[in-house]
């Protein structure tokens, strides 16, 4: 019987000819990632174990992106733990403020992760890299510590679910909408412990940015990983970028899936997730009149150059609504520079938006745009749980960048067609 792309990658990294769902394996890792919230605990456990050297200084990646630039003294102490460890261990990939970006935008951009890899990260959105045709999943600090010591992770081979999107995507519908549609259909635990494979001609026509957004939110359905088979778009993206030789896997025709769900992409609309779960979705046409106090365009989900271009196109020559804060956060310095080059910065600033240096910041209620009780935000981020962006009495709605930009201008959640 055939194997899925996920099973093939896991088998290769476990040194086995084949693996089946339910098998418990040790997989060798290509990259292990930590950030300023999760790595301090991992580093403390690493030291506690008596280990002296990380298993491979080129494969342990530390990205202080959550509470940086340091929001307070305690965060500064956390970041310092990463910096000192990176220096001591001579890590090849540690990114200081000034070159740091949001981890899941930064690693693909720098070519640190590539097709065919097995990757863990002590951050739930590590599933993002499945867009490159890699197996990539979020874990906790102890798993990261174990990986830093031995270069491997224990995993249960997941069952796979297939999501097929055929047809041409309507204007303003992007990868973010496809994944919100799926999460709305199957729920926040609809893919619990499972692999989510996205395929069909609509997926093959998606830009790499849109694919990264889509795989990024596999975790919001409980998925272990999200994955898209590499194709010409993947190869083009990796050209001159991938620091290691990519390995291209694809699913066998007779691979086994626990479920196959098919969508007609041409019938989809931009989606909005209402508080307080990403599964609480409505198409934009059914949103009604929802007034907002803040718009955030950024994050590991939608802080890439394509997202910025879409938002700028809609905001050009317009002003954000009175008493509304609009925060634009490019996910990396390369994106920031490209925005300057293309004149997007000027568009945003003229529109009355604040543009920030890369940070996860407000997405997790860290800093740089916290909500007061009773306030409402529309964000291109990935979670809208109670208290996610500040006060537990605030509300967060999720959408793609086009809806976020249009809503910033109109002061209520609105589609780009309404501008």
């Amino acid at each position: 019987m055939g194997m899925t792309i996920t099973e093939k990658i896991l088998a290769a990294h476990a040194g086995k000819k084949e693996v089946r769902p339910g098998d418990l394996i040790w997989a060798k890792l290509d990259i292990a990632l930590g950030n300023d919230i999760t790595a301090p605990i991992a580093i403390s456990e690493f030291r506690g174990s008596g280990a002296k050297k990380v298993w491979d200084k080129d494969k342990v990646v530390l990205v202080p992106d959550h509470f940086t630039p340091n929001k307070d003294i305690m965060s500064a102490e956390q970041s310092k733990i990463l910096r000192d460890f990176a220096k001591e261990q001579k890590l090849k990939f540690y990114f200081e403020v000034g070159e740091v970006g949001v981890e899941h935008a930064l690693l693909p951009e720098k070519g640190i992760v590539t097709s065919g890899d097995a990757i863990i990260g002590a951050d739930s959105h590590t599933c993002t890299y499945g867009a490159l045709g890699a197996f990539s999943t979020g874990v906790g600090s102890t798993d990261l510590a174990a990986a830093m010591i031995g270069g491997k992770v224990w995993l249960k081979v997941p069952e796979a679910m297939k999501f097929v999107f055929n047809g041409k995507l309507p204007k303003w519908v992007s990868g973010k909408d496809l994944i919100l549609k799926i999460i709305g259909d199957i729920g926040v635990d609809g893919a619990l412990y499972r692999s989510m494979e996205f395929t069909g001609d609509a997926i093959r026509s998606l830009s790499m940015e849109s694919r990264l957004s889509m795989c990024n939110m596999a975790i919001e359905a409980g998925g272990k990983n999200g994955i898209i088979e590499p194709d010409a778009i993947t190869k083009e993206y990796l050209k001159g970028r991938s620091l290691r030789k990519p390995v291209f896997y694809s699913s066998d025709k007779d691979a086994k899936y626990v479920s196959v769900k098919e969508y007609d992409a041409s019938k989809l609309e931009p989606m909005v997730a209402f508080p307080h779960l990403p599964s609480n979705t409505k198409p934009i046409s059914k949103v009604g009149n929802v007034k907002i106090d803040q718009v955030v365009i950024g994050s590991c989900t939608n802080g890439r150059i394509e997202d910025m271009r879409i938002a700028a196109k809609l905001m050009k020559g317009k002003k954000v609504a009175p008493y509304l804060r609009t925060l634009i956060i490019p996910a990396t310095q390369a994106i920031f520079k490209q925005m300057i080059k293309e004149g997007l910065m000027e568009i945003f600033i003229n529109a009355g938006a604040a543009v920030s240096t890369p940070t996860c910041g407000p997405c997790l209620g860290g800093h740089m745009g916290i909500l007061a009780a009773g306030e409402r935000a529309l964000a291109t981020t990935n979670r809208n749980f109670v208290g996610r962006m500040g006060s537990p009495k605030a509300e967060v709605y999720l959408s793609n960048p086009a809806v976020a930009a249009a809503s910033a201008i109109l002061g209520r959640i609105a589609g780009p067609e309404e501008l």
Binding site: A122, G140, S141, T142, D143, A146, G365, G366, R383, V386
Partner: protein, 162 residues
């Protein structure tokens, strides 16, 4: 091991932001984290609970962020174990790896309510609701995971078997 305590029962999809909000993640000190356990789903949890008490969730307990601070806070707060119909996978791994006892049992969750007194006996593989007198079975860990437990946890296992 035997755990005995009063039950605090919550809904589906309790997420790690509710268990320990990100605004407190500028430290990894267990004692500091524990002060805010369950704060955004049950503001007074730390005032009401006593060491040994048990958290019960419905489905998908611990979803969302990978922060290990969530099981660390729960354990440090003195909660003896968490029982749920299902756990989000990263929370499950984290709890197993760092030693917070978690038990998956849909039947037990159906048969337990807030305020009940419950006794969990992991050796016997049994959950007993002392308030109602009902008993529920616990499934054993797979052999692969029992090896990790025997070694004294994931880190000790990996340090020995590099």
């Amino acid at each position: 091991m035997i755990f005995k305590g009063k039950v605090f029962k919550y809904r589906d999809d309790v997420n790690t932001d509710e268990i320990i909000p990100a605004r407190y993640l500028n430290t990894s000190d267990p004692k500091e984290l524990a002060k805010h356990t369950m704060e955004d789903i049950d503001k007074d949890f730390m005032k009401k609970m006593k060491p040994g008490d048990i958290i019960v969730g419905e489905k998908n307990f611990g979803c969302g962020s990978s922060r290990e601070h969530a099981p660390i806070a729960i354990k440090e707060a003195g909660v003896s174990c968490v029982i749920a119909k299902s756990f989000a996978r990263i929370f499950y791994r984290n709890s197993f790896n760092m030693g917070l006892p978690i038990i998956e049992s849909a039947a037990a969750v159906e048969g337990i309510n807030t305020g009940d007194s419950v006794e969990v006996d992991t050796e016997k593989g049994e959950i007993k609701n002392l308030t109602t007198g009902k008993t529920f079975r616990i499934a054993a860990y797979p052999a692969f995971m029992q090896e990790l437990i025997k070694a004294g946890g994931l880190i000790k296992y990996v340090a020995k078997n590099k």
